[in-house]
């Protein structure tokens, strides 16, 4: 198997304005984020010949979405696709981009996404399969509630563990001027926050966010002539599986994402303990606990002490979600995590910079929790200086 490790890099990152923002369309956010990433990279627009765009979260008639984004940007790619891996698309599109460049289909790839929750918010409430919606199992939250339930049943994680994740990420967000959540959070406030779908509390969940994100991938040869330091893509991995309901049967269900983890570390030639910083895909706090195990940071029995020992904080063993995560920066579908990972290895993070950060793990997670069967895609990148 050919190894693409270190041959390609992310050379530009950007987000649109984001938050609870009506008045800007999904296309508008996509264009805004893409323009900022292109400017951050400093590549002339005519060099972008690959365009990968995450399928908009509003599942309407969006055929040809990627090509239309390209057209509005004045770009005519020789490689382009609309990708649907949910929150795994950010890392997954980087993996696809380097394969496409290596194959000779294109040289410089724009990867981007946006979400506008209004006015589709009402219609969104109805989404789900015929085997879930009639039971009041509507939307994306209930599967994550089941995941937390099973985590606590099988491994005894306490609510305080989930809460400390939320508290730590909020501390990080307070150092991020773009973050959507701006008020400090205590563990007591977390424990008092109301149930959304028990055992998920309000503070276990990320906010709804309107906005977009983008990044540019190209070769190291090209990257060397650009103004900002490149974030080399050292490793990429993905895996896909059913969740809770398994058409093939319940036996031998591995800890989800482990194949993605093996692939990303194997390609990069590094081990978990080599990481300096991490950005875990955290639409909900149970995701972080899951990834700590899936990506070999902790064994399940070590997770609790790792969290309460503050190892995930700036200054800890593995500072994580340094911009505040989806939970406190805002739900940018993992594109915000890639932006933060790139900025960490570039040394651009100011007050939340991890000193001498060289290796950053970024994870992705997404899928269709509301469908029959629920399925999940896991993806990951390792970025290096």
């Amino acid at each position: 198997m050919g190894n693409l490790s270190g041959k390609y890099a992310i050379v530009g990152v950007g987000t649109s304005r984001f938050g609870k923002l009506q008045g800007v369309s999904t296309m508008g956010f996509t264009l805004e984020a893409s323009k900022r990433a292109i400017e951050d990279a400093g590549v002339p627009r005519h060099e972008i010949d690959g365009v990968l765009v995450m399928m908009p979260a509003i599942m309407g008639e969006q055929h040809g979405w990627a090509a239309r984004v390209a057209a509005y940007l004045g770009v005519a790619p020789t490689f382009s696709a609309t990708m649907d891996m949910g929150g795994a698309t950010a890392c997954g599109s980087a993996a696809t981009a380097i394969a496409a460049i290596d194959a000779g289909y294109c040289r410089t790839v724009l990867c981007c996404f946006a979400t506008q929750n209004w006015p589709q918010g009402v219609a969104m409430q109805l989404f789900g399969s015929e085997f879930q919606v009639p039971y009041g199992d509507v939307g994306a939250i209930t599967l994550m509630a089941h995941i937390k339930r099973r985590q606590q049943h099988e491994h005894g994680f306490k609510d305080e563990h989930y809460g400390q994740i939320a508290v730590t990420w909020r501390q990080h967000a307070l150092l991020n001027p773009d973050a959507q959540m701006k008020k400090p959070m205590t563990l007591e406030a977390y424990m008092r926050s109301r149930w959304v779908a028990e055992p998920l509390r309000l503070f276990d969940c990320c906010p709804n966010t309107d906005g977009g994100g983008a990044f540019i991938v190209t070769s190291m040869e090209r990257a060397r002539d650009l103004a900002k330091p490149p974030a080399r893509i050292l490793g990429a991995g993905q895996s896909h599986s059913s969740e809770m309901i398994h058409p093939r049967g319940n036996d031998n269900q591995p800890w989800g994402g482990k194949p993605a983890a093996e692939m990303v570390y194997g390609m990069a030639g590094v081990r978990p303990k080599d990481l300096d910083v991490a950005q875990f895909y955290d639409a909900f706090t149970p995701r972080v606990i899951h990834d700590l195990v899936a990506y070999g940071i902790c064994k399940p029995e070590e997770v609790g002490d790792f969290i309460t020992g503050d190892h995930l904080s700036l200054g800890g063993t593995l500072p994580a979600n340094t911009a505040g995560g989806l939970i406190s920066e805002g739900h940018l579908s993992g594109f915000g995590h890639i932006r933060e990972g790139v900025r960490q290895v570039r040394g651009e993070c100011g007050a939340r910079q991890v000193p001498d950060a060289e290796l950053c793990l970024v994870t992705g997670y997404g899928g269709a929790p509301h469908e029959a069967p629920p399925t999940v895609s896991y993806s990951a990148l390792i970025l290096g200086k």
Binding site: Q125, L126, S129, E130, F131, Q132, V133, P134, Y135, G136, D137, V138, G139, I141, T142, A145, H146, R149, R150, H153, R194, W195, V196, A197, E198, P199, L200, M244, I245, H246, P247, R248, G249, N250, A372, P373
Partner: protein
């Protein structure tokens, strides 16, 4: 009082026999003829062996709670009045799991591993929903 109707299943080619069986008070799923695997959700072929030969087998209706949650914040107006209500995943004796609601018990009584049995909730003339109650 204005009542918003709850969204109900719209059966497809794959799923219609499941819902028709429920209307007769039967819990049926596809049993693969060559390998014996009981599969859910309904599909053209067996995910274990890819055979397209199956029968709609009647199941025992017995299972245990695999996971359960309680919805406090409704995601659809038709369910607002029901909160807090449980959404439960039951693992049937035959191995397959499905989403459902537990009835005839308080949410606080539910636990993983609780033995349950199927009951049939006739919503209207067209739709009956399999639900589960603590096994007697």
């Amino acid at each position: 009082m204005f009542v918003i109707e709850k969204p109900l299943p719209r059966p497809s080619e794959d799923t219609a026999p499941y819902w028709e069986a429920a209307q007769r008070g039967e819990l049926r799923m596809q049993k693969c003829l060559p390998c014996g695997h009981i599969r859910f959700p309904p599909a053209l072929l067996c995910a274990r062996c890819l055979s397209e030969e199956f029968e709609w087998a009647q199941l025992s209706g017995r299972g245990t709670v695999f996971s359960w949650i309680v919805v406090h914040q409704s995601q659809h107006p038709a369910f607002n009045a029901d909160t807090p209500y449980n959404v439960t995943i039951v693992e049937l004796e035959e191995g397959a799991r499905l989403h459902t609601n537990l009835v005839e018990c308080a949410n606080e009584q539910i636990f993983i591993g609780m033995p349950v049995e199927v009951v049939f909730d006739k919503v209207n003339d067209e739709v009956t929903l399999p639900k589960f109650r603590p096994r007697r």
